[in-house]
Amino acid sequence: MSDRVYKIQLPIFLTALLGILMVLEHFFPMPDVVTNFNITTRSFVTIVSAAALMLGIIFLTIAHVRTISQKKSEWYYSIFFIVSLLITIGLGLIGIRNESFLWIYNNMTAPIGAALYSLTAFYITSAAYRVFRARNWSAAVLLVCGFIVLMMLIPIGAIIFPPVVPIGEWIRSFPSSAGFRGMIMGTSLGIMGLGVRVFTGRQKEHLGIREERAGGE
């Protein structure tokens, strides 16, 4: 099939070309043309990404409009979405330095965002109650290390049990760093392996192509 070339082979080839160019740029002094080319392509990526976000919001809006028009269950909530979306877009198109637009951001988006971020404190506690039980040795290791470090970090911990500070510091500086070091090195190898698989065209799911073996289609 001839359209296989530009549908599958060319994208893979270009991925490899761009990627290898990026790697080489780091290790070998490159003519300015290459560096400039890289800078320009990177700015393209941000533009395409911005366009994709706008597309996503349009699709999301269509989904909500559909929910309302088909009167699906709980359709009335979608009205809240549409109204607040239209108000914000309207203000934003007047200008993103517009005061009302910034007011909405500072006084509505930012607090909800902060509140949602802080939800982690609650779930972290309820999860700890459920999973931090010494069911087996691995849960026990997790439990003991977590407990000691938290105790070290809260101001009253050192008053209740003073040795907790040196013990906690030691765990944090040595066994824990050692554990993460091994994991980080592994991850780094994983990324290199992924790079090779993608650049050789073996892994291409991200292009929306499901594997067809050598000889394929």
């Binding site: 994208p11 270009l14 991925t15 761009l18 160019l21 990026m22 790697v23 290790f27 700015s43 393209f44 990526v45 533009i47 395409v48 366009a51 994709a52 999301l60 809006t61 979608s78 809240f80 979405f81 607040s84 239209l86 914000t88 877009i89 203000l91 006084n107 509505m108 988006t109 607090p111 902060a114 509140a115 802080s118 939800l119 404190a121 691995s138 290791v141 997790l142 290390c145 977590g146 407990f147 470090v149 809260i154 765990i171 944090r172 500086s173 066994p175 050692a178 554990g179 070091r181 091994g182 994991m183 980080i184 090195m185 592994g186 780094s188 990324i191 992924l194 790079g195 991200h206 929306g208």
Partner: protein, 225 residues
Amino acid sequence: MDAEILGLIAGSLVSLGAYSVLIGDNPISRITENIYMGILGGYIFAVNWDFIRKNALSKVAEGEFVYIIAILLSLMLLGRLKAKYMWISRYPVVLTVGVGLGLAMRTTVMADFLGQIQATVLPLNSFNNIVMVIGTCLTAAYFIFTTQESGVYKYIHTGGRVFLLCAFGVTYGQTVSFRMELVIGRLVAMLDPRVSMITYAFLVIIVVILIYGYKTNKIEWYTGR
């Protein structure tokens, strides 16, 4: 009422709405969810439109025609609306993945792989250094795929797991205290003397709605796993 107080009130109301998600599925969290999604969607839409206008459209207007490519690539995203042209939308992806993976590979080998090795090369003259070197080696060996879990390797595997779990436990404990500081930061704003009455009033409204919901069985109670 000035804009600052109004802002504090609005912030307090939406924060309570956001916290109501802790109760489980309920009308207040649903409404907050949709309002937040709308605001954020609108914000992202406007900001990105502004970004494209500044960084692509106006550059083309100024004569930097290279950026037409970026605009074309963006339009290609629409290609996937028709299955026949789906392949077109692969090209922007190629750009991102190629550049991104290249960057990731080159930084990871220096910072993550060599950097960690360099930090671990320590003279074995103290207990702490020995723990560090052995721990790092055991966890690195934990990830070796070509060995089966038997014989000596079983012990190596277990040893690596101990160090990993220790690291996870430490991070868990450390995160707890940092995340609590975030709640406190929010509570300080919500309980600001100037707006605390409104916060309490809104809290009462939430409680009333919830009691009504539970009484009429419109909201369910949690039943364990």
